[in-house]
């Protein structure tokens, strides 16, 4: 039994090592906002012809334009803007690229400001990259991988403690770390939940 647990610990760890590093880096970034995060972000403007059926529904219109341009990403409804001449502006936010799209009143032409995200932005985005509209099958695998890794870390923590518990020569420092910080952390969570 111990051998099986050990193998899952090792092979699962090797499988998830990449995500552990992503999770660690991105979490530090969320707490500290590294200055180099946007290095390499670029903006490219382009235009395209369209053939989109008009609709008074802004969400539907934005989806039609996005799909017509072959783009992928979420459409934030609070960024919709219909001008007096019926031209329409909206945004599409993808994990790798963001777009600000302006469509002419006839719905035949789109001007696109494309923001190509930096390597670090994309790397951070892998922290919790979920399903998004028009995502490729390749990207759909990622959430499965992240869920496996999330569960694996819980397993690794428990199995790691089990291996340590099986050791005969535990040092004082190990006990101190386990009791003061490890179990102290559990108490801290209870304290925060109840009285925090």
């Amino acid at each position: 039994m111990r051998k099986v647990i050990s193998r899952i610990h090792v092979y699962g760890g090797l499988l998830c090592a990449s995500y552990l590093i992503i999770f660690g880096y991105s979490s530090l970034q969320f707490n500290h906002h590294f200055p180099f995060q946007n290095w390499g972000e670029r903006q490219v403007d382009w235009q395209a012809s369209l053939s989109v059926q008009e609709t008074p529904n802004d969400t539907l219109l934005a989806e039609r334009v996005r799909d017509g341009l072959g783009l992928a990403g979420w459409i934030p409804w609070w960024r919709f803007q219909r001008a007096g001449d019926n031209s329409f502006t909206f945004e599409v936010g993808g994990p790798g690229k963001g777009y600000e799209i302006s469509v002419n009143p006839e719905r035949t032409h789109a001007s696109v400001k494309e923001t190509r995200r930096s390597f670090f932005q994309i790397y951070t985005g892998l922290h919790a990259l979920g399903h998004y509209p028009n995502a490729s099958s390749l990207v759909k695998i990622w959430p499965i991988y992240t869920q496996i890794c999330a569960l694996f870390v819980v397993f690794a923590a428990v199995s790691g403690l089990y291996f340590w518990g099986c050791q005969l020569d535990k040092k004082r420092l190990e006990w101190a770390l386990f009791v003061i910080i490890g179990l102290g952390g559990v108490l801290m969570m209870f304290y925060m939940r109840i009285w925090g």
């Binding site: 090592a17 552990l20 530090l28 994309i122 695998i141 690794a156 190990e174 304290y191």
Partner: protein
Amino acid sequence: MKETIKKIHLYSGLSLFAFMVIFYFSGFVMINQTLFPSHNPVKKVRTETFTWDGPRDSLAISAYIQDHYSLRGKLQPPRRLNDGRTRYNFYHPGINSEALVSSDGRSVEITVSDLGFRGMMVGFHRILGYFGGWLYVLWSFFYDAASAASIVFGITGIVMWYTSRSRDGWGWLCLGTGFGLTLVVILYLMLMP
């Protein structure tokens, strides 16, 4: 060297296991909405008189509100609404308290929302920043420590496996799958629409 790496792996695990578990498990809860659905929060609303004759400093007012009306949680940045009221939010895992001070500054509407299990997990996952009192500063420190430990576990784990006698093809396959998938997804996101 090998012993040192083993010790780093062990010591960071013994000290930070609780934080690693809560951060990863809460992440699992957040991305599995079908397994852990969010429910409508249970809200308690009350209106009280508001008496504050101190400075207009928002931090001082926040501290007064939190103390005077016994609201728990980490202060979020106050926000002035279009109708002249000012909103003060205090957030802690599972519970959100909101104090809306009227535009004339004479009354305050307090809403305490119980966000349930999912809300609690979201709270543990998302409480960030070195502000809001000693508890939240300490939490943020352990958040950073667990984040750094996550990187350390990944690297030391690979090194420990690589230098061990049990290094085999299955290990290479697992390692290659994880890093290969990461690389392919990053390249896809950089190059494709």
